[in-house]
Structures are given as C-alpha cells and as structure tokens.
Subunit: 248 residues, 2 copies
C-alpha cells in the first residue's frame, strides 16, 4: 500500500531517517510481509521506494542485522533471519558428553494440564492472572540420562491445537511444533540465570542428591512484535554448567 515512491512522513520529534526506516522494516517483519528465511528487496529498490539514499538504507539494515532480525549475504541478498536458540544459556550446559559434537536432548512430557495462569507467572509474562493456560512438565535426557527438568506455561487461546496432539508425539523440540500447529513463531527471548539447592523431588527426577547445586534458567519467549508467547523454568545440574562472558 505504501509502495513505489512514497516519501517518508516527517515525524514531529527529531528522528533520524535511518531510524524511521528501521521501524518500518521491523513492522514488515512482525506482520509477516517479510517472512523468515525469505529474501527482502535489494538495497537499491528500498532506496528508490522510500526516496532515500542507499547509505541510509544500509544503515537501517545494519542495525537490524546487528539486532539479529536480518542476515546479509554478499552477492545474494538480505534475508529475514529465523531466531537461533544456539545462543541460549542452555548451550553452556556440557551436554555433549564424551565427544564434542552437540546433541539435541530427547524429551519426555511428564504432565500436560489445563490450568489458570498463576499470578507470579502471569506477572512475568505481562498477561492477566487467571488466564486459561496450558502447563507442561518436561524432562530432557541425553543417552537416557535426565539432564534438564522444565515447567512450561502457554496461553491457551494461542495454543489450543497442541491439545489435539498426543504429548508423546510432541517430539524433541517445541518451537517447530508451535510454528507448525499453532502458526506461532518465536523471535526472541529473555533469560535469567540463578542457582539453588535441589529439593528432594527435583533431585530425584534429575538423578542427583538432595541439596546439590542446580542452575535455574527462566525464559520468556516473544514473537517478532514482542508479544509474550511462552514462559519456562529449566533446572539442571550446576556441575555441568560453565558460562563465559567478555567484559569491557
């Protein structure tokens, strides 16, 4: 609708052109006009369409590349990036037992039930407490050794299709499942790391001694438009965890 030669409207406050452009591109991504893994128009096309110079388009795209929403390939084009959860804190658990290669843990759903969103979790998600929700409890294993215990909360109205599937058939990864059956794409997440001593039931499920140090990772997963989609808390053995960071 706003195509082929529309001059950007000037904003009341002072806002750089490239910044306004970035916003426009973000909207196109969140509204799936530009879809994950698809190519977007070339820099010259975008410059003409928005009546700005290529340098300005490049600066807008630069910031989206840095932000992880786009990906550029010289000679090919610019693509909408699918979120990579390789960068999750989970990767700092040494799951690769024995040889080095990464391995997706297998999943066992221990419980699936309908439940109203508890106030504490509703507040973390920014959703109304008491909202109908789906609660999953899931154990993740490597070579049949339990390694992570997870409790997951999903707002029911976005995920009803999950209830029609036998939890034994959910498979090892949930996000592709969300996308396939519920049309819901996870675009980013916020994670929080803490540690605690294992309670007896947690220790038992993970095959540890009561009181052992556990790493606890809370994750709030969001859509491209930052709507909250999933909240989960994961617990794993602290002695399998090392996290590195660079300080400047």
């Amino acid at each position: 609708m706003n195509k082929s030669g529309s001059k950007l409207e000037t904003k009341n406050i002072r806002q750089p052109l490239y910044d306004r452009l970035r916003e426009i591109f973000e909207i196109k991504i969140s509204q799936r006009e530009w879809r994950p893994e698809e190519i977007i128009p070339s820099e010259t096309e975008l410059a003409k369409a928005h009546r700005v110079s290529i340098g300005t388009v490049r600066k807008a795209i630069d910031s989206l590349v840095t932000g992880g929403l786009l990906e550029r390939f010289q000679g090919k084009g610019t693509y909408v990036r699918r979120a990579q959860f390789n960068s999750s804190l989970f990767r700092f658990f040494r799951f690769h037992r024995e040889e080095g290669s990464y391995q997706v843990p297998s999943s066992r759903i221990l419980k699936r039930e309908l439940s109203d969103l508890p106030p504490a979790i509703a507040s973390e998600m920014g959703l109304p407490p008491g909202l109908p929700a789906i609660n999953l409890i899931r154990l993740r294993l490597i070579n049949n050794n339990p390694i992570l215990l997870e409790t997951i909360w999903l707002p029911k109205h976005k995920f009803t299709q999950l209830l029609d599937i036998n939890p034994q058939e959910y498979g090892d990864l949930l996000y592709p499942l969300y996308e396939k059956y519920c049309g819901v794409v996870i675009a980013s997440a916020q994670e929080t790391l803490t540690a605690e001593n294992a309670t007896e039931p947690h220790a038992q499920l993970l095959g540890l001694k009561t009181g052992a140090s556990l790493i606890v990772i809370d994750r709030l997963a969001l859509a491209y438009d930052r709507e909250p989609l999933e909240w989960r808390r994961s617990r794993g053995p602290a002695d399998q965890f090392r996290y590195n960071v660079e300080i400047r």
Copy 2:
C-alpha cells in the same frame, strides 16, 4: 612518526581500509599514545592524516566504540574509554541490601604471599607454570557482612610495588591501586560463571551453611594489548544472584 599525510600501506591480502585503520587506532591506544580519558584527534584530522575520507574514519571509530575502547560525544570529541567494570557479572549479585543504590563492598585482605604460579592457573593465564607470583586472599563485605571470597593471582614482575605497601592499606578497589603503583591498566576481562556446593571453610568465611549453593566467577583481566595481568576466582551466595540476558 607516521604523521601528517602518510598513505596507508596496502596489505597483501584483501583488507578493508577501515579495518586497517581500526588496527592502527588500537595500537595507538595499547601503546598509550592515546591515553584513557583523553581526547583523540577529530575525524577530519584523522581523515587528512591517513588520506582517507571521513566516512571511512567514522566506520573505523564506530567499531572501536562498539568494542568499548572509544567513546564519542557530539560537539565535544572522541575519547579513549576507561574500562567499566559495571558490566561485570558481579553486578548481578544483589549487593544493594535494603535501598536500591549500588555500594562498593569493603575489602579485607586475609592473606598475601609470594608463591609460584600453580600449573592450572598458569594455563588459564597463558603464562609459564612456576612463574613467581603474588597470591592474595580477600574477603569483601557489605555492612560488615561477608559477601564475596576471592583468591587473586598476579605475576610478580609486574606488581612488585604492591609488596611495599601494607595490605591493610590496599583500599576497597584493586584496579586503581594497580594503575597508581604499578602503572598497569586493566582494559578488559573474560569471566566464567559456574556454581558449586560450599565447602566447610568457604561456608564459614561467608557465614553460610556447608553445602549451600555458591556462584563461582573466574576472571582473567587483560591489558589493552591483551597481555594477561590478573586472574581471580570469586565465590558468593547463589541466592543473592540473578543474571539476565537477551537471546536472539
């Protein structure tokens, strides 16, 4: 020596001009030709001096600003940034007891001794094992409550001046001390986070129960030229720790 109008030598391999410029500026910083908190030449001066366009200088400076080595202020100039250890993992300990404001913990040196670098630590520092070193054990407190227990290793030849000072007079922060007495500036650091159950002596010093969850942070601190200067391991109570990160 390479001033006023020297054309950049072309490298054999294909390397962008702005990348070569960034390297040159990094060297000036690490060799203290440009010093912390001092202003560097303006963009136009740098462009003339290196016979490139302003845009290219800007791109080189951009990457150093992103990397945390420089800081720009519109209308004032560009400055060499002093490392900010606000971004250390330590800030995720909730040290601000009671009201919100941050507070530098006070320090008590429990031990200072000359000792050869143990192999494990030498290997982490990338220095030869057995190198003469200074080992400090330090307790950090808020309102007289012990909150962090640290063991610190320094290569002796760079820090001999520390031996002439009474450890009771080291003060609450070591890095300013290093700079003042040893002429050594910490520019960056790598940190690693793990967790463990407290041993009895550690628990006792920190006022915790044996077996309580501890967060362990290892830090390797480097000079601007990435020479290793200090290694430390810090332990604190896990229930006072929350770390947040954004995943994309």
